[in-house]
Amino acid sequence: MKAVELKNIVKTYSTKKSVVTAVDNVSFSVDEGELFGLIGPDGSGKTSIFRILTTLLLPDSGSAAVLGHDVTQDWKEIRNIVGYMPGRFSLYQDLTVEENLEFFATVFNTTIQENYDLVADIYKQLEPFKTRRAGKLSGGMKQKLALSCALIHKPQMLFLDEPTTGVDPVSRKEFWEMLKRLKAQGISILVSTPYMDEANLCDRIALMQSGKILEIDKPQNIVDRFGKNLYAVRSDNMYKLLNDLRSFPKTESCFAFGDYHHLLLKENGSKAGELESYLISKGHTNLIVAEINPGIEDCFMQLMKK
């Protein structure tokens, strides 16, 4: 059985003036015990997919199932066995940390004590603040509480819609460590993120853009298929370098990537020498040109252009 299976899902939203296709004929599946990532910017259709899978939204067409249960027929069963952390903070702001957790446990006919081992790891960090109202918590803390509440009924499948958006790098790192431990306990996880660097932490990913899937595979396989020579370039004047690289006749594209610029040339093959003399003639100093392996973000940008 698949943890999640979508077949040709279409979802449109209509306003008076226009029809927006949020999910455009999307099919993919998540294996049991898998940590699967939907990677894409805002507006790529990730949230609509989550809402369809959690039975909060009906698709226009296509079919979808969660752990063998159909999303339109068996919504009651699905709601009992999944945990969902929506993108927007959706806990009760005027209940305390502890009251929120207790509330969600009660709704699912269980107690905090019964499943404490599952959330202990996360909830321990919240315990010093357990009498604080949820609305008064900071971003990182809200996110930990929301995850605890999504887990307290021991779901078999976890849906996490952009849990790390707007969260600082330290809290993001901790969050992914928590996900790894949950996966180790056998929970299947579908998680979305706009941060490309988080893609490598997933077993498999779907890269999404404007309601469509650009590619689905293991992160490493996607990177291996890049198939072009990619160069990292830096010099003392990065702004001028970017403009000079873009006006180099053999450049296909050039983008800033942290402390280097990433450069794709029109034809494969070693042009590094020619490039270096061009840049030196433009007056660049402390020049570094190195061929590098692409990352998921390079792949995503390449796929976006197709």
Binding site: G166, D168, Y195
Partner: protein, 248 residues
């Protein structure tokens, strides 16, 4: 060498909420035309500090001048000299691109002719000729943010404050956004920016990192990496922010 004009100067700037010290005696200077990255973990005090600098929150102590104006007494002058955009609020969604330009141009006191010229330049530069009369709500997020930034610098402010301007934006648009930032800085506008993307911290001339209300590091990305023996700004950030004691 000419000395660069200092456009932001704080001296032990502090904000307390009751017993809680949100911003604890921060002192720093930002030069004209600089891209200054203002980093910190969630809850470190960045937003509170920024609110004081843009003149919408009165400090509890210390001194600060923005564009030469005092943050206690000259907040109206400050507001005229700066631009501001954030991920959360940028433009009026139920107005078109052109209408937003007219509205903000009017608020900043530009003449009708100025608005007309700037409107045309902005639309040409962003290649939005066919979208100019469409409602903002119908634009993809990335375009919205590019328009919002261009409008935030429409009145040619001395400083533009950007609060997580690229959150949720696709990787190509995110870089096009930074092209706009580079260009603005090149034309002499100082850019004061917060972000959670550590690759973007690398694009800044200098970066400050706030931990528990205080600035614990301030230097160019290269110097910070050397100082902390880190390969990337992400490592620098994690080393510093892990020492945070504040329970957020």
């Amino acid at each position: 060498m000419t000395t660069k004009e200092i456009v932001i100067k704080t001296d032990k700037l502090t904000k307390r909420f009751g017993d809680f010290i949100a911003v604890n005696e921060i002192s720093f200077e930002v030069n004209q035309g600089e891209i200054f990255g203002f980093l910190g973990a969630n809850g470190a005090g960045k937003t509170t500090a920024m609110k004081m600098l843009i003149g919408i929150s009165k400090p509890s102590g210390g001194k600060a001048e923005v564009a030469g104006y005092d943050v206690y007494k000259q907040t109206e002058q400050i507001k005229k000299s700066i631009g501001y955009m954030s991920q959360k609020f940028s433009l009026y969604e139920d107005l078109t691109i052109k209408e937003n330009i007219q509205l903000f141009g009017g608020i900043y006191g530009l003449s009708d002719e100025q608005i007309e010229t700037k409107s045309k330049n902005l639309i040409d530069k962003l290649n939005l000729q066919s979208e100019a009369d469409k409602l903002i709500v119908s634009l993809p997020l990335g375009w919205k943010q590019k328009v919002a930034f261009s409008i935030a610098i429409l009145h040619e402010p001395k400083i533009v404050f950007l609060d997580e301007p690229t959150g949720g934006v696709d990787p190509i648009t995110r870089r096009q956004f930074w092209d706009l930032i580079y260009e603005a800085a090149h034309s002499g506008i100082t850019v004061f920016v917060t972000t959670h993307y550590m690759d973007e911290a690398e694009y800044c001339d200098r970066v400050s990192i706030m931990v528990d209300g205080a600035i614990t590091a301030l230097d160019s990305p290269d110097n910070l990496k050397a100082k902390f023996g880190a390969r990337s700004m992400e490592e620098v950030f994690i080393k510093l922010a892990r020492s945070a004691k504040r329970g957020e």
